[in-house]
């Protein structure tokens, strides 16, 4: 696939890097031969089977995944392609959701038909995006980021406090209570009023969006966006209409967010200010960064990974799997030699035995609590301390020490690293069993924050993105 405007060497550097090795190589080469259209069809086909296999709550999770995927794809236009760091993105999502909720509920009261409401909401969100892009004419990088972040804050504040505006008889946004009783999408008398119907609606929209974005990426506009990202000044000198392109990126991104917002409001049958906080923005960013900035399949994969994580964490058994497999993978990656990994695991267990024996000798076995080993099936019982009374305090200290330990492992090399690994892993397991496994929502936050940091340091292109060649 050759693209106009890509330098030969840069183009070839990708293929040079992509010489697969290892046992997955044949499969990956075969996958590369599949045309993008068939890949999409395969993905949509598999996704369409999903609601048939899971319970209604599983379908609800699927809807979350699809909404997150759409949002991440929209954000990808602004951040991944045009290279503008937009931290106010979640406000467009909120704006779309609120606008739709206001015009299709008893709030005004108004019940606009879907075919009126959706175009109006999407157009209004796009307009808002275009408006917010105006500052980007003058502001770049960090300034633009902080300004859009302020916009997101202002949005939440306005929505939350609108009811308290002096002289306003009806609170349009419902204040902190939000708006409830939002109508579902209804097209030609067909109402999307169940999870299954909404799932297929979203899946269809996502398919259309992916096709559209794929075309857009290779279009003149898409190439101009990438030029803008790589070097705005040079692009401008090549007579690229920089300001118009920035505005377009913001507007298209916002429109996609607005559209996702309307479905979100309809599925949730309501909107609340807390749905559009910074936490959610970070979730969208985590999906985008994990999958790979700029890559459409990457973003979808990232959204799936990020949206399923909290569900996995909520289930103690599955969370255990995730944690211990992750730990083992990390060990394999850092040590690279299997005998060494076995030695370290043995070391951790031995360390645990000693520590447990010492603690019991000093404080007696009154400090022990009840282990929550749904997953490990008693494997930890012999050597890990599961505390009772002092669990909270001890695990706090252990958490801080574990972070210090991880940083120490990063800093050390060779044998020292192996030595540092043993207590660090012990502490990590200790904190996990005593604290993190019991608090899934906080664990998720830690995980997402950590993912953003680690990905930037280790693999800034994400799981499926292509490494960018920096030309200086």
């Amino acid at each position: 696939m050759s693209q106009i405007g890509v330098d030969r060497w840069v183009e070839e550097s990708e293929s040079r890097q992509q010489q697969y090795s290892g046992w997955t190589a044949p499969a990956r080469r075969a996958f590369d031969k599949v045309r993008p259209g068939w890949r999409l069809a395969l993905f949509l086909g598999l996704a369409a089977l999903y609601p048939l296999l899971v319970s209604p709550s599983g379908v609800r999770i699927g809807i979350t995944v699809l909404i997150l995927a759409m949002l991440a794809l929209g954000l990808n236009i602004v951040v991944g392609w045009a290279g503008l760091l937009d931290l106010g993105y979640v406000a467009f999502y909120g704006f779309g959701a609120y606008f739709y909720a206001i015009v299709s509920s008893d709030q005004l009261p108004a019940h606009w038909p879907t075919w009126v409401a959706i175009p109006v909401v999407v157009a209004a969100t796009a307009l808002l995006g275009a408006l917010l892009s105006l500052p980007s004419r003058r502001l770049v990088g960090d300034y633009l980021a902080i300004m859009t972040l302020f916009f997101a804050q202002v949005f939440v504040e306005v929505v939350r406090n609108f009811s308290r505006l002096p002289g306003e008889p009806t609170d349009i946004t419902g204040g902190p209570n939000g708006i409830t009783g939002v109508d579902p999408w209804t097209v030609f008398g067909f109402s999307f009023n169940t999870f299954n119907r909404n799932f297929y609606l979203l899946l269809g929209l996502l398919g259309l969006l992916i096709v559209g974005l794929y075309r857009l990426n290779d279009s003149r506009t898409g190439r101009a966006w990438r030029a803008l990202r790589e070097d705005t000044l040079a692009a401008e000198h090549m007579t690229t209409p920089v300001n118009r392109l920035k505005m377009l990126a913001f507007a298209v991104g916002a429109a996609i967010a607005g559209l996702s917002g309307t479905i979100f409001a309809a599925v949730q049958v309501g909107v609340f200010p807390n749905n559009f906080m910074l936490v959610f923005l970070i979730t969208v960013y985590a999906a985008l960064i994990l999958g790979g900035l700029g890559s459409i399949p990457g973003v979808v994969v990232g959204a799936i990974a990020v949206a399923f994580t909290p569900e996995i964490l909520r289930n103690p058994g599955a969370a255990g799997w995730l944690f211990y497999i992750g730990l083992l993978t990390l060990l394999l990656v850092t040590l690279r030699k299997r005998p060494m990994v076995a030695a370290v695991v043995a070391g951790v267990v031995a360390f645990g035995y000693l520590l447990r024996a010492a603690s019991l000798a000093i404080w007696g076995d009154t400090i022990l609590g009840v282990p929550n080993d749904t997953f490990t099936g008693g494997f930890l019982d012999g050597w890990l301390l599961i505390l009772g009374e002092h669990q909270d305090m001890a695990s706090n200290y252990a958490f801080v020490l574990a972070i210090v330990g991880v940083l120490g492992v990063i800093l050390t090399r060779g044998w020292w690293r192996v030595v540092a690994l043993i207590p660090t892993i012990y502490l990590a397991v200790f904190v996990w069993e005593n604290k993190l496994a019991l608090q899934p929502s906080i664990t998720r936050q830690l995980l997402f924050g950590g993912v953003l940091m680690v990905m930037m340091a280790v693999r800034p292109q994400g799981l499926l993105g292509t490494r960018r060649v920096e030309i200086t």
Binding site: D142, F150, K435, L436
Partner: protein, 305 residues
């Protein structure tokens, strides 16, 4: 008039704290040309470190040491913890990204901020804590200036902030290390070629910025009482506003901007409505960014090819 003066003192207190946090933003921006999003979290951990020391020393009502010693120890602990976190961030989250694209350190900083917030939530739970400073230093103590009484804690905060700012200004302008900071901030590559150890300068900048943020955290705890795991986010945004309004990269600018934001917030809260307090501060920033992006005392950035 009395009310107005009271609010002015209020704004001055608030402004000193914002100025201290803004200094961290502005100094880091000066040397690294990137926005340390996690700075607000450093300040939050400073506040919690102060609280920890206060609790260890027996709590506000049953101190085992004299009050002045307790407060000094709180400041020292906050500075230590904040510095540790700041330097850790620099070493592990930002230094590996020195040569990466502009987006990378910003995203890493957002991740760090989120991570630290979650860590605080994990360690300290979602309950807000209180220094209960009126028990520590009675609210009646202080001085009477004209028609108003000023609480001793407020005087302590304002004076400490002023002293720290004077020391910082002297250090930056007079000392050898300060000269290195200015050189790196002016042109990193040229400074490196002249034998300035850039990595060291960056670490020093993080140490000073974080220590000031830690002091700011304890001050907020003393004056306004409540500390909680999300306090760093909004305060960080406001301090950043202060840094921008003053002209990012400029040290006197950050002080000026901090005071300005403090006054704006105090007057808005008292004369208009506390609901709109944040809206007005953010609105101020948006207007400022659009009209005068380099702030009061900053230099306009010229793009060089």
């Amino acid at each position: 008039m009395e009310f107005f003066l009271q609010q002015t003192v209020n704004g001055l207190t608030l402004g000193s704290v914002y100025a201290l946090i803004a200094l961290g933003y502005t100094m880091v921006y000066g040397v690294l040309k990137f926005l340390n999003f996690a700075h607000g979290e450093v300040y939050m951990f400073g506040a919690f470190a102060g609280y920890g020391v206060l609790t260890v020393l027996g709590g506000p009502s049953a101190l085992v040491v004299p009050v002045w010693l307790a407060i000094t120890l709180m400041f020292v602990a906050a500075m230590t913890v904040a510095t540790g976190i700041g330097v850790g961030l620099e070493r592990f989250a930002y230094r590996p990204l020195r040569r990466a694209s502009r987006l990378a350190p910003l995203i890493s900083a957002i991740g760090a901020s989120f991570f630290l917030q979650a860590a605080a939530l994990l360690l300290f739970t979602a309950n807000s804590r209180s220094y209960d400073a009126p028990t520590l230093i009675p609210i009646e103590s202080g001085v009477t200036v004209g028609p108003i009484d000023i609480w001793a804690v407020r005087i302590l905060v304002i004076i400490t902030a002023v002293i720290l700012m004077i020391l910082l200004t002297l250090w930056v302008n007079r000392s050898r290390a300060g000269k290195a900071v200015r050189a790196v901030s002016f042109d990193t590559e040229a400074a490196a070629m002249m034998g300035v150890d850039v990595d060291r300068v960056i670490v020093i900048t993080f140490i000073i910025g974080s220590a000031l943020a830690g002091v700011g955290g304890v001050m907020v705890g003393l004056v306004f009482g409540r500390i909680f795991h999300l306090m760093g986010f909004i305060a960080g945004l406001k301090a950043f506003t202060a840094a921008v309004v003053g002209g990012i990269g400029s040290i006197p600018g950050a002080m000026l901007g901090g005071l300005l934001i403090g006054f704006a917030e105090a007057y808005t809260t008292s004369y208009i409505s506390s609901t709109f307090q944040n809206l007005i501060v953010f609105g101020l920033l948006i207007v400022f960014l659009l009209v005068r992006p380099h702030g009061f005392l900053g230099r306009p950035d010229l793009a060089k090819v």
